[in-house]
Subunit: 338 residues, 2 copies
DNA sequence: TTGTACGCGTTATCAC
DNA sequence: GTGATAACGCGTACAA
């Protein structure tokens, strides 16, 4: 029951190892007599031979392995994407190794190094803040790469994203249509483009509707201090003067933190305050009011990202492509007029 | 910026590849002049040389890769374990590749094959139902293996578990102490030992306290039909005659499904019904009553499982060990006397 | 310190 | 037409 090598199969079939390789890979058909081919296949099956992928990889200079780096694996968005990407890649004969950068540029760099030393064929990355330099280095080394979720306009890399600006516009329009006039936003203090886009969509839409967007209705949150920052920002928005009548959380994590505060403060949702979140969270399951949220096309992102990377790997000279998928606003009770 | 090999370093330093290997691996210290060693290290750094782990693996017949197979990656329990195991293994120089068996014996077998063909050094597995035969095969092939969460008493394999029987006793005692007399249980229809143990702990404890455990208070759920089965079981338990005053969900997934039903039926928790869950779920975040649940020592399981596997890999002849960690009952409002 | 035979497949080249 | 030989890929570690 020891692991068998191609040599074992060759001996059992009474041929050279070369022939075994040819037959099992269905190459050089016609150049090999069907009789010996059958003998080889039989021997391989009887020995339960499985080619050693390490040896294959060394020879072929390809591991058929993809490195996936997500922003934060504890976030449903990331774990869902990881599941979908793994499955899509498996269908195409690739193995995915997963790393979580935990929104940290250092960790991201370490993961890239780790995966490179393991000779991954390509990367799928949801970039953390301040990782542009690392990504640029990868691109310079011509490592196949596809970005998703987050991306840098300055970077000439393949990317699969949604239109964060437009999604935010939709959210804001939705709240305005529900009669809200003092719409607050909770956003990260970040250099990440896609998050800035969410903020921009909100601001532009308000302006377009001649609605105020005072600083008191814009809450910036430091990612390392979410709970306190969210609480502080909400308390400002809910203070007597110019009290907010709606709040748009630009991420699910912000929404969870925010909703906990709102529950503590006994704020009626959607009665006195409408709420919208970007992305889902399992936590929403039992929130008393079903939550309105922006739903990203996870399956689409996952499959697109994989096929884009594979085509890049197959034709290294192919040019950069970027694809924008549509997000959907799922309107539910939390943002409806009560 | 092309990838450098050991040969490049050797040439640049004007030595043989053997020396480079020795120096970079800190072998044969003293037998190599410090001057050339320094020259080699300098050359390696300048070329940004990273050894090709594929070649290393082929030569050493070790990949320093661990295959982790979890039951269901969408479950918090699994994803947390995956995160912890990956991190623990990384600290010790191992890479973890993750697969989700989705509670399916076929998928589990496919993952084992996939990982074996990738020459993982060992496995960490939360076994799905009906996978005993596959695991036995692995053991026969002397593949290092550690089981966790689920295990088979008949299998002589390393294992890290909790005492499910005792945890269930604790849950039941807790409910009894809270004055509950008609305690229902929702459990999977399964051959998995650890789940049967949970049921056994509940039954024994009831019997010990001379409390009834009629069939109407025991709900069996098929894993492929959770929603309906849970709803049906709960409706029986809540029917007028001999109505349950407490319910013990033997998994977080069952609890989530069950709580949705209970909310629909307008059952007051803990007012008319106390509830306990095994394991947590993000969904519990906003359930109106904080949920009492059995908390498993995830960090402990994760680190133990990794160190157990590594010691097994380092000394293949070492004998089977199994470790039982303690679970804690986190008592909160959902099971307190109202 | 160095040469080189490994590990295990793949594939170009050579032989009958 | 059929098949074998051998040179890779890249580190490692033994013999010299």
């Amino acid at each position: 029951m020891e692991k068998k090598s191609i040599k074992d199969v060759a001996e059992k079939a009474g041929v050279s190892t070369a022939l075994v390789s040819y037959v099992l890979n269905n190459r050089m058909q016609g150049r090999i007599s069907e009789a010996t081919a059958a003998r080889i296949r039989k021997a391989a099956k009887e020995l339960n031979y499985q080619p050693n992928r390490i040896a294959q990889s060394l020879k072929l200079q390809k591991t058929r392995t993809i490195g996936l780096i997500v922003a934060d694996i504890t976030n449903t968005f990331s774990s869902q994407i990881a599941r979908i990407v793994s499955e899509e890649a498996r269908k195409k004969g690739y193995l995915v190794i997963i790393g979580s950068a935990d929104e940290d540029a250092q960790k991201c760099a370490a993961l890239i190094e780790l995966f490179l030393s393991r000779q991954v064929d390509g990367f799928i990355i949801a970039a953390a803040d301040n990782t542009e330099a690392q990504l640029k280095k990868l691109l310079k080394q011509k490592v196949p790469l596809v970005l998703f979720d987050r991306y840098f306009p300055s970077l000439k890399a393949n990317a699969v994203t949604i239109d964060n600006y437009r999604a935010s516009c939709t959210v804001t329009e939705h709240l305005i249509a529900a009669g809200k006039k003092r719409i607050g936003i909770i956003a990260y203090e970040t250099g990440l483009f896609h998050l800035q886009e969410r903020l921009r969509g909100y601001k532009d839409t308000l302006q377009q509707h001649r609605l105020a967007a005072p600083a008191s209705l814009t809450g910036f949150v430091n990612i390392d201090n979410i709970e306190q920052d969210v609480a502080r920002a909400l308390d400002v928005m809910l203070s007597s003067r110019g009290r907010a009548d709606a709040i748009y959380f630009t991420s699910n994590k912000l929404a969870v933190a925010g909703l906990k505060v709102l529950v503590e403060r006994n704020i009626a949702i959607p009665g006195t305050l409408a709420v919208v979140s970007f992305d889902e969270s399992d936590s929403f399951d039992f929130f008393h009011a079903p939550l309105t949220y922006v739903k990203q096309p996870l399956a689409g992102i996952g499959s697109e990202v994989v096929s884009m990377l594979i085509s890049q790997m197959d034709m290294p000279a192919s040019k950069i492509t970027s694809k924008v998928l549509d997000a959907i606003l799922v309107a539910r009770a939390s943002s409806q007029p009560s």
